[in-house]
Symmetry: C2
Amino acid sequence: MEKKSLGVVKTQYFTFANPPDELKLESGARLGPVTIAYETYGELNKEKTNAVLILHALSGDAHVAGFHEGEKDPGWWDSMVGPEKAFDTNKYFVICSNILGGCAGSTGPSSINPRTNKTYCLDFPIVSIGDMVECQKRLIEYLGIKKLLTVVGGSMGGMQALAWLVKYPNKIHSAIPIATAMRHSPQQIAFDEVGRQAIMADPCWKDGDYYGGAHPAKGLAVARMIGHITYMSDASMADKFGRQKKKDSEQFKFTADFEVEGYLRYRGDNFVKRFDANSYLYITKAMDNFDATRSKPLQEVWKGLKVKVLVIAFKSDWLYPAYQSKEIIKACKFAGLEASYCEIDSTYGHDAFLLEFEEETHLVKHFLKKVFSVSQNEAKL
Amino acid sequence: MEKKSLGVVKTQYFTFANPPDELKLESGARLGPVTIAYETYGELNKEKTNAVLILHALSGDAHVAGFHEGEKDPGWWDSMVGPEKAFDTNKYFVICSNILGGCAGSTGPSSINPRTNKTYCLDFPIVSIGDMVECQKRLIEYLGIKKLLTVVGGSMGGMQALAWLVKYPNKIHSAIPIATAMRHSPQQIAFDEVGRQAIMADPCWKDGDYYGGAHPAKGLAVARMIGHITYMSDASMADKFGRQKKKDSEQFKFTADFEVEGYLRYRGDNFVKRFDANSYLYITKAMDNFDATRSKPLQEVWKGLKVKVLVIAFKSDWLYPAYQSKEIIKACKFAGLEASYCEIDSTYGHDAFLLEFEEETHLVKHFLKKVFSVSQNEAKL
């Protein structure tokens, strides 16, 4: 059954400026004004109790679903968001905002620094996953929402969901961290670091001060190619490409002979058209620095919380292996939270969180229905 | 018990020039003169029946064991080669040569092209694993050896062992392919390709024509860093680094904060001092193009061979996963070869083939003793 699309949607902007509305970052630095790009779908009910916040991954943006005017590709999670879909816009008011530090409308290193009237470049302060969540909280308050039905995201989106659980557990009824970790392993840090090195090795990077001229496109493309390998699985690559040689293989010795090489180059080259290299540095650093546990074990941080949690992992995901999701669910259970865990049997690797929407839909739909019904009863008390 | 070292060893050179000694490559191209750097340890017996050929991996060289004059680090497999070690130089005559296309004494893209008196650069022809084996065969003949006791190597060295089995099965009594594959999966090709892209993205690469000036050091370092991540395992990185921060972390925003980052940068920077970027391109391409099966299944190619095979894999090796070694052993068994398989329970990932020398020593010592004894009896018949 073909589900309906949201049709044409538009990005909106929310700016908070001037102290005391200035953002105090977890590092202690201050930042302002801050603009947050966001999209909403569906209708906020009168009681403002049907809002869902979607949290995007490294290369995502606020455009989750529907189509931007004149574009032929829908948002990045259109399979999950829309009428009758997992996040049913006939029932729920769905919000997604571009993260702080990003390059798709929200304030980041490519924005203008009002103190100098020049692009921030590396003057942009180091931001954290917690800082991203802080901006989301301000957006939610601005929209008049006191408590979210759920916060949900995969990969770095899942880290934000965990940060919501740590920072603002009283502002959410539930959380759905997908294919994520409470902190990066050294292997995850290492992959990010090689991507950063590839960008910084590009002479066009110029210590981050490249906005007037050529961008470090080659370095960023290499970073993205590394990323893509880690998003797929050995099995999914074997299925998709095998050892097929490209038909249009040129005569140059080190051309892309194999289909898989051509695919990676294509994805790398496409990425640089829409993504900012400095944002890549800042965001991956935020992921590497993230540690939900910080000063004490999560089971102590989360003790007694009334937040319901659904943790989802994927069998072939070797970038965010299932054992990391099991650490999260273990902390939930030890803290006494109502939490469930599902490991989906997919061969898609880390990309599964974007692709296995049928299984995810079953899991999310029932979970959200229950959360909504309990939350409405609570509201009546 | 501390085993003895070989002491000081020396690299030797063997050159074959002029037709008909010119090398006809598998691509059809011709190459000459070709110099092969090699080292030997132990004594060749009078009957010339105690020779073992060791085959090195991507970044290896002819210097397997002992010390070069004035150097404090021994060869790359010193733990396995020497008096009383797995390849016991009191019993066996051990040979290792630098591969064709390499940059440690053998002819490669950084050699002088005698037709132009300039460095080959990208005029160097594409070489194959089979071409490397062809050079090794000429070296063996030059040393007066008719049949090798064994050919042994890990990773790309294992591919060469398989190529010996395909091309010259009558010239070997046995083969020991370790942590290898009969052909690269698309994931393995993809990792190589990103490394090549990183090198070619470096403006110092200049289409391979950089020998007069600065080498593409940053690109090669990034390629090596990617390699290092794939050589280790998630578990071994967690053991070695955890999330330890570096003590001497500078104030620069994107400095190496974590130990793992510092380690990767160090390994990357060190590698460029000893390795040629063009060789990296040619050698990884040879690995990606390698397919032991080629026209027909290996079990048919190998049918009825009298070569004994010992296949070794490592549990945590995700770059050359054990299933690839199982494909090799399966082909051996289907072809009716006397073959055994051992999967060593190591957490070191692909690096295990260099590090798990105790387990490897047990396996190799018994295997080689048996091969030697059977081969001596055969010789008497």
